[in-house]
């Protein structure tokens, strides 16, 4: 609103809706987090720290303690993309319907390095990176009174599919919560955020890795990248380098290299490629 992207006549507050802030876990249903749970509450949850370390680390690196005490999970996922052209009232960019992405030839040091041909903005949620790696599902109440579950991988919408919206949320839709699968034996996870500042800053690059290990051998793996593309993405190429392998430095390095296959950095953000190489390798090395 401050940046002039929207000018509502009415705002409907949802903070007072009861039971929308619960954090519950069962071995059968997994972890359910209500949309109104604050990032601070997620950060302080010992259960999340124990079973979903990557999520704990992602929320712990968001904003500042004061912001985490007010920012909610639902709000974090529903926030708009990060791009100074998009968030400038003076620029009618691709996402505002002009067909022109000014970041392509402009100031693009913080922008996307993958899938960035039409719009190079990046989604601002670091929490989404961790949720994507955990194969979370988003619960949505629709305006016509229905409830639906959407995999995190389908929740965010690439600008080529919908230039005006970053998520599948339609008018009247409300995020009610997120569910993560129950933690399996041997599940390990880690998250790393790289930013210009340690606190109160966006991610220039972040990664969440979730793996199921038997000893050092990786049975299954998921590698999610944030601030790499207009939406948080999974690197299947990186995961494939891990699955079936005994984790060690060379495997981690190979997966890190694979994570950047297909990268198309712009003039001023090629530095992100080696940054991702480094943080992906480090995150994998923290698993075992």
């Amino acid at each position: 609103m401050k940046e002039g992207l929207v000018n509502p006549s009415t705002i409907v507050g949802v903070k007072s809706i009861p039971n929308l802030d619960k954090i519950e876990y069962s071995n059968q249903d997994g972890l359910h987090i209500g949309a109104n749970a604050t990032l601070g509450e997620l950060e302080e949850s010992s259960l999340i720290k124990e079973k979903y370390l990557a999520l704990h680390l992602a929320v712990a690196h968001a904003g500042t303690p004061q912001l985490r005490n007010s920012a909610t999970l639902g709000g974090n996922l529903a926030q708009r993309n990060r791009c100074w052209y998009f968030r400038s009232i003076d620029h009618e960019c691709y996402r505002k319907g002009s067909g022109t992405c000014y970041a392509q030839k402009g100031e693009n040091e913080f922008h996307a390095i993958m899938n960035n041909g039409t719009c190079a903005s990046v989604h601002a949620s670091s929490v989404a990176t961790a949720l994507l790696a955990f194969d979370a599902k988003v619960h949505i109440a629709t305006a016509d009174g229905k409830l639906k579950e959407v995999p995190m991988e389908e929740f965010f919408v690439h600008p080529e599919d919908d230039s005006r919206n970053e998520t599948i949320l339609k008018a009247g839709d409300l995020i009610t919560g997120v569910t993560l699968p129950a933690s399996q034996t041997g599940t390990k996870s880690y998250y790393i955020k790289f930013g210009a500042r340690e606190s109160h800053d966006w991610a220039l690059a972040d990664v969440a890795v979730v793996a199921i290990l038997e000893g050092r051998k990786c049975r299954n793996a998921s590698v999610a990248l944030g601030a790499a593309a207009p939406v948080p993405i999974k690197s299947k190429a990186a995961a494939e380098k891990l699955i079936g392998k005994s984790l060690n430095k060379s495997v981690a390095k190979a997966a890190a290299k694979a994570s950047m296959i297909g990268a198309t950095p712009l003039a001023k953000n090629a530095y992100k490629v080696p940054v991702f190489h480094t943080i992906v390798e480090r995150a994998i090395s923290k698993l075992s």
Partner: protein
């Protein structure tokens, strides 16, 4: 930033009803397809940015 009114919903159904009742002029419906209730969630988090 122009003036806006604030409605604190008591339930999901209440939020939906308010959004639908003000559908013609609530923010997202005209401008970006997002609902006012979603906006509130977004506003809280915009603080992070």
């Amino acid at each position: 930033m122009k003036k806006f009114s604030w409605y604190e919903a008591k339930s999901i159904e209440d939020a939906m009803a308010k959004v639908n009742a003000t559908s013609s002029d609530i923010l997202g419906k005209e401008q970006d397809g997002k609902s006012g209730s979603v906006l509130k969630q977004g506003v809280l988090t915009c603080l992070i940015s």
